[in-house]
Amino acid sequence: MLEVRDLSMRFGGLLAVDGVSLNLNEREIFSIIGPNGAGKTTVFNCISGFYRPTGGEIQFNGHAIHSMPDYRIARLGMVRTFQHVRLFNRMTPLENLMVAQHHQVNTNLFAGLFKTPSYRHREQEAMDRAVYWLKKVNLLELANREAGNLAYGQQRRLEIARCMVTGPKLLMLDEPAAGLNPRETRDLNELIVSLKEDYNVAVLLIEHDMGLVMGISDRIAVINQGRPLAQGTPDEIRCNPDVIKAYLGEE
């Protein structure tokens, strides 16, 4: 469903990403790993449209998306989370999930002012979806708090829920386990697998927690200094001498 060919991204004299290719199948968990500063997040930003790549092609379900504005890409069913949680802090978790469904509700000004039946109906549906996902990520009790006051792990879960209410085909998670304790990481692990199994979502994952990555990934790509280093199943990656060298250094 997602095909990245020969992606490169240049910032002035710095070639941050150079010749990265990957393709993602439906219902697949694909991880990108690599040392700090390897260019993983840059790849993410290129795919999700926050950067316009300087070279290469990106196809998503038959659409060429490498020159599309970010919000249009999101509407095609590709949503992402951020390395540093980006919630609407002064709004409640419920409102966060309602905003995310902006394109599923009736945004007509007059329909809203007069609360027409179609408006009420779509609004109720959006509310039901929001409540469903709040329950799924175990935040229903906190639905009316301020999102900015939630604990860090809860904020991470809310961000994933906010992506899921949009009904995505591809979910991109940028270091979802960063800052989580071992128990929360275990829950996250279960959540991601359930998204794939029960909601038919493909997941593109950047993560440093090797336990999580090796446990749930179907395939893994390793990037080092902007260049692709290896690609394969977790077992292949674990035994790949190049990968070991990049991570641990040479003997």
Binding site: Y71, V79, L113
Partner: protein, 422 residues
Amino acid sequence: MLAKRLPFAALCAVLTLVMGLPILGLNLTPQGIHIVLKSAPSATFMWIALGAAVVFLFQLFKDYLSGFWRQVPLPKASSFTPNLEGRKRIYAERAGWFLVAVLAFAMPFFASRGATALGNLVLIYVILGLGLNIVVGLAGLLDLGYVAFYAVGAYSYALLHQYFGFGFWEALPISAILAATFGFVLGFPVLRLRGDYLAIVTLGFGEIIRIVINNMTWLTGGPNGIGGIPNPTLFNMEFGRIVKDPGDTLFYKVLGIEYNSNHKVIFLYLITLVFALFTVFVIKRLTKMPVGRAWEALREDEIACRSLGLSRTGIKLSAFTLGAFFAGFAGCVFAAKQSFISPDSFNLYESVIVLVIVVLGGMGSQVGIILAAAILTMLPELARDMAQYRMLFFGLLMVLMMIWRPQGLIPMKRTPVELARE
């Protein structure tokens, strides 16, 4: 502790003297055709020295003073708004709105003519404040040229009357829509700007509109303004003593009562009140609608919005357009109330006042803004003798508010949504 602060306190006192002596101690007095530098009376120097001493002592004992200050608890928002959960709070809120509306409707029948006219002015600022609140408080776009749309609304009515003979009720929607169009057009170029840059561009736009009106003398009468703008009528009944428009009748003759010049003031107040309530209602509903949620989301995090498929273009434009719509609305009412408008009514000072109302009231909070509009409009009228200190007073008020309640008099509260439990 004291010894530590001593050098700084001394420096502050010296600075006070350096600043104060030439400014207050020396006077330029005209003598014939010359201007002579004269020293102020010795009492003035006493005051300057006293001022320096106060500054010195204040800086010296600042820590003790601020410690004493903090002993006094800050006013809590819950003492203004009932702190009940969910449905109960919504009912209490509705009852509160209803009570205020009833009191506001009854007010002109008991209050004096002056108080009613002042109330009318308060209501116009309520509409302006609530309109600007969409742009600044909800969408988080700092707009320093809001008064431009107010001017567009007022001049729309004045010009439509002057050239095409439009009455108040026909001009009202047109004024609002014209102002909204201006908001929409301004929205386009400023969309990519944020924060300070946006503020500068809107500031410039506000001044451009005023200067254009000032200079297009052939159309707008320039600095002389436009007079003879008719007051609103009620079913073609005029409130004056004699008929101005041949097609109209007179209120006191139709009702068979004695002529009273207060009728006009009361009527103006009442229709402005209806418009203000309309504004409150519409904006309250807007904030709960998808577009209102999107405004707030955009204020909170633009990047997250984009990642969820919300286009900032449409959302920012809608905020600008709707904000301008209400300014145009208020402008038309203002022109009808004053009967005379000139570019002087739409200077930067007006933009600042409306912005102060929004910030002081609490960004996004309707109750706070209404309260702030009332306070900021009534205070200068009540203290007319102190008129030249008005800006000083505003500045002081803003500084104090930023220290005590940066979130405003009555901060915005979110309505909790009831969730079904199984």
